[in-house]
């Protein structure tokens, strides 16, 4: 009986170990696969031409595979989304964590969860029918399908991440800090902006970074509202094409083994590296917060 239990525990232990390292293995396998398929593009296009090329004509003969407009498009849309979402998200997090009465806090928290649950294609649909015509008419643009429309859509998608993680960070600030500040005669506002925000800062930065990570990988809503023109963007009020939309729109057609096919994998690789860097930065900030 005892032996059976030992065997059982051994098996369970190994199973838990396997599930534990499964995600590491998956990430490694995905990276290796992307790398293997992606680097093949450099047989036909140099790294400089690929990352710095200004034209994306993947199905021409010979294809022009420059992804600079796509990288800049992704970065511009993401930057716009962050400028919109981070202040709003942090403000909301402070309100929910520290200011709102209990009833409103619960209501707001569930609303934020619902916002996170809206499928991106639904947001994209709202964007194309409401936001795009609105932007065109209020700003007097030639077309409402712009980077700005994408940024606004993505800001909606980043908000839940930013709000919930920032809120956790704010709640994690030791209660004594707040009580101490108030006891010394600081107002609520002074406590928030001079004491609590310092304690929560690493978590807030991590929340913003995770929000960015969520945004840069988002595809559907962006594809529907940004116009997808592969030009080097000079303003937010101009159509752009993102890395994600390019992969989504073209993968179905690309003939397996063609430069176009490999180029799309290389685009995926670039995207993977960008979000990896963002997540790494977020982790560094989160860990710094914990060590204190």
């Amino acid at each position: 009986m005892a032996r059976f239990r030992k065997v059982k525990e051994f098996v369970i232990e190994k199973l838990i170990f396997a599930s534990g390292i499964a995600s590491i293995i998956f990430v490694a396998l995905i990276f290796i696969f992307l790398l293997r398929e992606g680097v093949s593009v450099f047989k036909t296009t140099s790294i400089g031409d690929f990352l710095g090329g200004r034209f994306w004509y993947p199905i021409s003969d010979p294809p022009k595979l420059g992804i600079l407009p796509l990288i800049l498009g992704s970065l511009l849309v993401t930057a716009g989304a962050i400028v919109l979402a981070v202040p709003l998200g942090i403000g909301a997090a402070f309100y929910i964590a520290d200011v709102a009465p209990v009833k409103i806090r619960h209501l707001l928290k569930s609303c934020v969860e619902v916002l996170a649950a809206i499928p991106s294609v639904v947001l994209g649909f709202l964007g194309i029918t409401l936001l795009v015509p609105f932007l065109k008419h209020t700003l007097g643009l030639p077309t409402g399908l712009t980077a700005l429309a994408g940024s606004i859509m993505l800001a909606f998608m980043a908000l839940p991440t930013i709000i919930s993680i920032s809120e956790d960070a704010i709640n994690a600030v030791p209660r004594e800090y707040k009580e101490g500040a108030l006891a010394l005669g600081a107002t609520h506002w002074q406590t928030l902006t001079r004491v609590i925000i310092h304690g929560a800062m690493p978590g807030i930065i991590a929340a913003s970074m995770l929000g960015i990570g969520r945004v840069i990988g988002e595809t559907m809503a962006v594809m529907m509202v940004t116009g997808n023109a592969a030009v080097i963007p000079t303003s937010l009020l101009q159509p752009v094409r993102t890395l994600t939309a390019t992969i989504a729109a073209e993968m179905g057609e690309a003939a397996k083994g063609s430069p176009h096919y490999f180029a799309l994998f290389a685009v995926g690789l670039v995207l993977f590296l960008i979000s990896f860097l963002i997540n790494l930065t977020a982790d560094l900030f989160l860990n710094r917060g914990k060590k204190r």
């Binding site: 994306w56 199905i59 194309i128 030639p142 594809m223 529907m224 997808n228 729109a249 003939a255």
Partner: protein, 331 residues
């Protein structure tokens, strides 16, 4: 259009199907890929008694009556977004004749459909362009031989916002507009506002046809491209929506999408030719300059259920559906 001899065309004689199937399929290099086809074939023929098999062989008969084969057969049709509505209408009518058959029609673009045919995930690919050389090579690797048949004609319509005063354009003007050389409507007789170009994504047969036919004047190997500033729209519906709401926009879509919410442009072949409105009649007599054939592509010559579907498409009812969905019938 591909001139490759490896693409089997519909021939004018009809050998019995049994013979046909045995000879037409190449020895597959990749048995795994091919097995499903063989199974389908074997099941259909061997499950009934040997007598029936003999009868089938002699008659070359392929008709499948409800109950004499598997309880529920299915047919996967995939491809051109332009043809999705057409395919769905065919599938519905076909389903009334053969209630036991489950026909699924999905879009995604001509290239997507052909890729699915190569991978064996669909039975019939709808495409608005001929298969390409590289696809034929790739198909050979998977033991697939394309059989393409023209089942309808389509005109590509250039549309603008209803308030736009421009109503006639020559092919050269269209070329200059979509290459980004004409940037304002004023140049071609419109108001002094910038032109917003709407194009389909590169996986769209409509995109490729427009590029080769209008921008490259029919020369496949030419180097003209859409202006990089052209907006790539994910569907014809998206183009229709944007044109209907944007007085700056010019876009193109299949004849089937014409609606009063967009204004159709009459097109002339060159400076001396008359401006022709895209209509079913003008496409059929080949007067309208931007028109093209629509294909059904199968693996090998159609047999069994696939053949029944293709035959239905060619029937009077099938061609009436073509007309009803605003395409141009071939008969």
């Amino acid at each position: 259009m591909s001139k490759s001899p490896r693409v089997a065309r519909r021939l004018d004689f009809e050998p019995p199907n049994f013979y046909n199937c045995m000879t037409c399929f190449p020895i597959p290099k990749n048995l795994w890929q091919h097995r499903s086809d063989e199974n389908k074939y074997m099941k259909k023929r061997t499950v009934p008694a040997v007598v029936l098999l003999g009868a089938l062989f002699l008659s070359g008969c392929t008709s499948r009556r409800p109950g004499d084969s598997r309880a529920s057969a299915s047919l996967q049709i995939k491809g051109s977004d332009t043809m999705v509505n057409l395919g769905q209408a065919w599938a519905e009518a076909f389903n009334k004749l053969h209630p036991e058959v489950n026909v699924a029609v999905t879009g995604g673009g001509s290239g997507t459909g052909i890729a699915a045919l190569i991978n064996g995930t669909c039975d019939i690919a709808e495409s608005s362009r001929a298969v390409e050389e590289k696809e034929i090579k790739q198909a050979e690797g998977n033991g697939v031989i394309f059989n393409q048949e023209i089942v309808a004609l389509d005109g590509i319509v250039v549309v603008v916002h209803p308030s736009n005063p421009v109503k006639n354009l020559t092919m050269d003007q269209l070329r200059e507009i979509f290459m980004g050389n004409i940037k304002r409507w004023k140049t071609i007789g419109g108001p002094d506002i910038p032109i917003v170009l709407l194009s389909r994504e590169v996986n769209s047969g409509t995109h490729i046809f427009f590029k080769e036919h209008v921008l490259r004047r029919g020369k496949k190997k030419a180097v003209e491209e859409f202006s990089p500033g052209a907006l790539m729209m994910p569907s014809s519906f998206a183009i229709a929506e944007e044109v209907a709401n944007n007085e700056n926009a010019v876009g193109y879509y299949g004849l089937g999408y014409i609606s009063p919410r967009q204004k159709v442009i009459a097109v002339a072949k060159d400076d001396r030719a008359p401006f022709i409105e895209p209509t079913i009649e003008s496409v059929r007599i080949n007067a309208y300059p931007i028109s093209r054939p629509l294909y059904l592509t199968t693996n090998g010559r159609p047999s069994g259920l696939v053949k029944e579907f293709v035959d239905f498409v060619y029937s009077k009812e099938g061609q009436d559906i073509v007309k009803r969905t605003d395409f141009v019938p071939i008969k």
